[in-house]
Amino acid sequence: MVTADISKAVRRVDAVAKCEGTIKYVSDYAFDDCLWGRLVRSSIPRGIIKAIHLPQMPDGYRFITYRDIPEGGHNYLHMIATDWKCFAENEVRYVGETIGIMVGPDKTTVENLREQIKIDYEEQTPAVTIDEGLECKGGAFVNQDNIHCRLSLNVGDVDAAFKKADKIITETIETGFQEHVYLETNGACVKPEGDHYVVMASAQCPFYIAKSISPLLGVTPDKVIVRQTTTGGAFGGKEHFPDVVCGPLLLAAYVMKKGVKMVFDREEDIENSVKRHPSKVVFKTGLDKDGNIIAMDSTVCYNVGGYLASSYVVLQRGCFHVTGCYSFPNIRSVGLGVATNTFPSCAFRGFGAPQTLFAIETHMDHIAEMQGLDPLEFKKRYFIKQGDTTSTNGKIVERVMIPEMLEQVMKASDYERKAKEYKWGQGRGIGISFYNHGGAFTGNGEQAIIKARVKLHKMKDGTVEILCSQTEMGQGFHTILPKIAAHVLEIPMEKVIFDDPDTSRVPDSGPTAASRSTMIVGELVERAATLMKPRYAKEEDFTVETHYEHPDGFPWDQNTFQGYAYLGYGWGVCAVEVEVDPCTAEITTKGIWSSHDAGHLIDERIVHGQVNGGVIQGLGWGSTEVMQNVGGHFKQTSMSDYIIPTSMDFPKQGVYFVENPYEWGPFGAKGMGELVFNGSAAAYIDAVSRAIGKRINSIPLPTEDVMGYLMHGTELDAPIEEVR
């Protein structure tokens, strides 16, 4: 039977099968009757395709391009925007852009034929970095100015405040590409079946795939049935990117009248998949004569790559989080999505928020340090509270427990003593960061755009099936959702079925993204189970359905970005302690402590696992995960040169929570899958900065760069300027 407190940990339903290796990922299916596919891609970052030379094709082998799209079909992928082409036509905008798909029965022969395809290009000068994009290097290729998208936010009167300011400080903070490195690479199979197609894919969002690729054949999304296969990690990298994999497979299945399958190897996956947006945030902050912040202006630039796809929404979330956990009287933020000739950037855990949160935390540290203040004491002055105004002129609806969380982290880490004892630049440092993450889709997006629906089906034998489109990708949702239903219905969890979604049999409850699954879909399941409960014993076979309703009284305008962006945030405080070897510049992390507010936890061990993984992924982003793009080509293409953390790199974490039930979440739960990523990099960099006695204004910071900071003296301090 269910336990009294829903937070008490249960065994994950998939744990044993995953340990034994019996659960099937997409590469574990034989798909015996299917052909193999291999994408043929652009080898240059920018240019015009002049000619494609094909080798002699044996019987049953074919090279398929946009020219094979049937009449009525469209050569685009419908993500949020529709600009990302499924196949390049004349121009190519990035290395790795799909030009065609080579298909045939034997994998090795397909590979050999692909290698013999020669493409002639007229090469053009690429713009690779944010600055090159803004300068329109090689000429603008998106709009007149290489700006894919822009937005601005305004609270109070920044210009008037700047006129009154005693000092105005400017500073630029930058972050790099990050590769997801889900352990399972991308893969899918698309088969024709009767008058429709069946997609089996490693993916986060089955309905996204159907909507995105069905226009290729000019058919409605219901003609493309998507069945998710067990997904070996995603982190946002399988939110929209499976569309890029499945689109060419769909066209190939149509042309060949046979199923076509494709699984990337690691090198293909790293070189040719979406990444976290590199960012550049320029702050201009006005201080009064006592050193208090009276206005903050920021320009938030994200490297979007060749196509816009979902990046406008990423940029929006970035700007909404640019003031972090602080309240300032006058705020202005301009967001620019910059077009470059790199692989389009896309969703990655945090969806734009980590970049600006790293930026604000680091900027606040530096303003404090300039004034000779402890960063913590300085930040405390501005902690946002319930009822305070947000960056979008909304209010914070919930109680903000940062003081309580800070207390836990300070006690566990002995912050106060260490911050005093470890002198600036003496080899040891402790850093601290504050962060949040707005749960679910922004504003009224859950009601206006997603319109989530779930069904619960009670069967004769007492079994209850949950029908929704949420996916398990490692985060534990196959356990969380049945736990919620079982708890409400007061039946054993084993009586609740929740399978990988099949779009032909489940309602669309929205994407598994945006930290929305527990908070929004979990709530719908809780309500559905509550409706089912009084009928459960009396009726043999029936279904109940619920749909999302946004609470009244929290207006949001998606055109002006004004109002209540998020009803519930997750909140976090993280401290990191480091020691730097003065000879080798090696950094040893001595301790990691964090406290999070995720409302009431549905399963404390699952949430604990999310905290551990998110914090370490954030530390990787801040330290070793260097992904360079040189001349349009990613330099790191394997797991031996793109370095993600191992078990030896970071010590055991201290993990703490506060209890802060969320009014509109299931049992009081809020989103937390992304939150836990958002703050560890800033705490780490704060610690390293104190240990080596230098301001640091960009990540990642691998050991070789620390050596650079140590060897080159103060001039390598991040430039922070007083304008007045």
């Binding site: 340990c19 290796g21 399972e184 696992g609």
Partner: protein, 163 residues
């Protein structure tokens, strides 16, 4: 392209097996495709991530960088075999109870690493466990709960591993 096929005999999970194949084929492909050992996962194809770990004459190796020819006459255990042993079940149970498993793609290799570690060191410290699994990359868990689960397995399986 195709080299001469050779008959290769080896012990797979305690059973004598044979296959006639190109001796340069990767062991991972032969295990997965010819013997249906789908628990052997391919994560990186270069011996870096440990998802394809197996025991080769009792030693942990990554099967993506070993040619099948090298297996002739040797003894191979995959997760399919290990998970059915008494020790394997203790580890699996501890992983499930300790919250070691998230997406699961690294986990069969991680179970092999835990098994190999405990065979050689039945009572490992946290540091020794971290070292023991350092060749196995996990992107989900941050390792803490895997480390604790291996510790749990060591405690529960004390009688099994103590010589």
């Amino acid at each position: 392209m195709s080299t001469m096929k050779t008959e290769i005999k080896f012990t797979l999970n305690g059973k004598q097996v044979k296959t006639t194949t190109d001796p340069l084929r990767r062991l991972i492909d032969v295990l997965r495709n010819d013997f249906d050992c789908k628990g052997v996962k391919e994560g990186c194809s270069e011996g870096e991530c440990g998802a394809c770990s197996i025991l080769f004459n009792g030693k942990m190796v990554t099967s993506c960088i070993i040619p099948i020819g090298a297996a002739d006459g040797q003894e191979i255990m995959t997760i399919e075999g290990i998970s059915q042993t008494e020790k394997g079940k203790v580890i699996t149970d501890a992983f499930a109870d300790g919250g070691a498993v998230q997406c699961g793609f690294c986990i069969p290799g991680m179970v092999i690493a835990a098994y190999y570690l405990l065979e050689n060191n039945p009572d490992p410290t946290e540091e020794e466990i971290r070292l023991g699994i350092s060749g196995n990359i996990c992107r989900c868990t941050g390792y803490d709960l895997i480390v604790e689960s291996i510790r749990l397995a060591a405690e529960r399986g004390r009688k099994l591993w103590k010589k």
